[in-house]
Symmetry: C2
Subunit: 358 residues, 2 copies
Amino acid sequence: MSKLPLGCAIAGLLAFAAPAAMAQPASPGPASPGPGPREVPARSLPVPTAPSPQVQRLIAAPLRQGWNTPPTTPEGWRALAEAGAAATRLGLPGLRERLKVDVEAAEMGGVKVFRVTPREIRPEHRNRLLIHVHGGCYVLNPGEAGLPEAIFMAGFGGFRVVSVDYRMPPEAYFPAALDDAMAVWKAALQTNDPRNMAIFGSSAGGALTLEMVLRAKAEGLPLPAAIAPGTPMSDVTGVGDSFQTNGLVDNVLVAVDGFCDAATRFYANGHDLRDPLLSPIYGDLRGFPPTILTTGTRDLLLSNTVRMHRALRQAGVEAALQVFEGQSHAHYYRDDTAPESREAFTEIAGFFDRHLGK
Amino acid sequence: MSKLPLGCAIAGLLAFAAPAAMAQPASPGPASPGPGPREVPARSLPVPTAPSPQVQRLIAAPLRQGWNTPPTTPEGWRALAEAGAAATRLGLPGLRERLKVDVEAAEMGGVKVFRVTPREIRPEHRNRLLIHVHGGCYVLNPGEAGLPEAIFMAGFGGFRVVSVDYRMPPEAYFPAALDDAMAVWKAALQTNDPRNMAIFGSSAGGALTLEMVLRAKAEGLPLPAAIAPGTPMSDVTGVGDSFQTNGLVDNVLVAVDGFCDAATRFYANGHDLRDPLLSPIYGDLRGFPPTILTTGTRDLLLSNTVRMHRALRQAGVEAALQVFEGQSHAHYYRDDTAPESREAFTEIAGFFDRHLGK
């Protein structure tokens, strides 16, 4: 019997629930503290070797400077958004050329949009239209700075895309972004069969994608044929294990209580963060269209994404999940030359192809 | 311009690849070390709140004692396996009763098996049969100790299951486990249509599931209609970011270079660990049957699982992925009273139902 406790402790681990006495060893050693929080020592995480060199470069980048010193005034947020947008705009001409996509400013339903059109629309996509809602914690990426993901989708997927340039704080607060996106959706319904349309977006755009479906359900509007919320801010109440496990591991969002949570509160403007129109995981998900979700193993929103996937499956929704090795938040649309970027958007396009036009 | 570097650093993070000058801030502060390994400070990870109380209890359990002091002799391994098996066996009568499953020892193709049969077989499953290959790092869980997952599947899914009690070291080494599993597969083909059969298993059993398909392809044997490798040991060469990120976070396998890696080397017996029959991710995956993979966000094999999923998708295989919040390695078959356990196996059963009998 003297071997039993050790044997249980080790060998039981690939087996099923050991009896209660086994689940908690009677005399844990110093390396095995009692039940409760997990104490993890300081570690040096090497750059993983399986991703492409391009993604390895993204992973190897340091934590974003200033992630935990967000602006504290409306003017500060506006300046931050503008500075970031200026930087992103520098990369757009090259991106458009490499992916052979044209962009045109327009208006739909009284809302500013960009028409993002591949120079070669796939024949089977001629009558199809995707609506894109960009990310940026509801505050960042104004104007053309919201376009990169739309250009990736148009270029890799061969779809026409309309990207919503929704109003953001300090110009307008919750639910202005959603209102604008819905105005575009209603306008799109005037001239498009919803069976030929899908909605997609990442981060805040992933949340807005889900919120649009909740709102459309509530208003009795037709739903899109499919949606692709990428690493969605589906729960902004702080619930989610990866907020802790991937804290200071994700080099994009970095950790909780940084700029993104501050931006979300700035947008919410005092509104309850548990409202399903801010944390859609708490909404009624029954009847949602087929959904494909994308995340990475180092994503601060890994839990937001996989919990949303499980919630959709539990609601009886056809839902697919793709998780990319080593990637932090939304790394899949950071470098159009990374094979994983093409892979992610090809997967989403294929999912749309299986569900549109039915 | 003075705001630009900060603006880029923060706001670029939700946008696409900033120009090279932006990707690496010119003068990183002390909190943002240069590119390379990620230095993560010591942390205390609270028990996540979203999982069920049962799963929270599994997550709160301390790291397994003895995880990094594996046996060093054949006798030591045998004693460890026996001790663990004795502990697991204690829980089996209750498990069988709660899930209403009967177990009978038998033999197929000259190999010891257990017939694991639900007292109520679903009518649509009357002609269907699942083959189960248990986990335990190729060395642990002999005899009935390999049955818990099979009982979960039979009970939650309403399927007849045959669980392979394959030979293990020190009785027999690589590829004995696979040889035994293939002998059972061939025997099953004598009396069952492969369109009515699936193969499943977790950990080493997940790897064996994949290895069986590789071997069946190579031998020109019929393939199963679907497979469900759970948190598979699909790459035992050490490649996989979660070996690092979830090291000392996963309380089941705990970390690399522990007992499981030692057990795998014991089984491999000097054979190249990169052989696809030990690391199936390196095999030719074209033509694989529809596959559903299961893991958890704290799983040391999270990367093994999601990389396998991506590799299957890239090979054109229909492949689904489910990831459970906060769970360590194979937590989904540790407590049959956890709603997540029912959820995981119901999802797998539904996947089998969509693909069997076609």
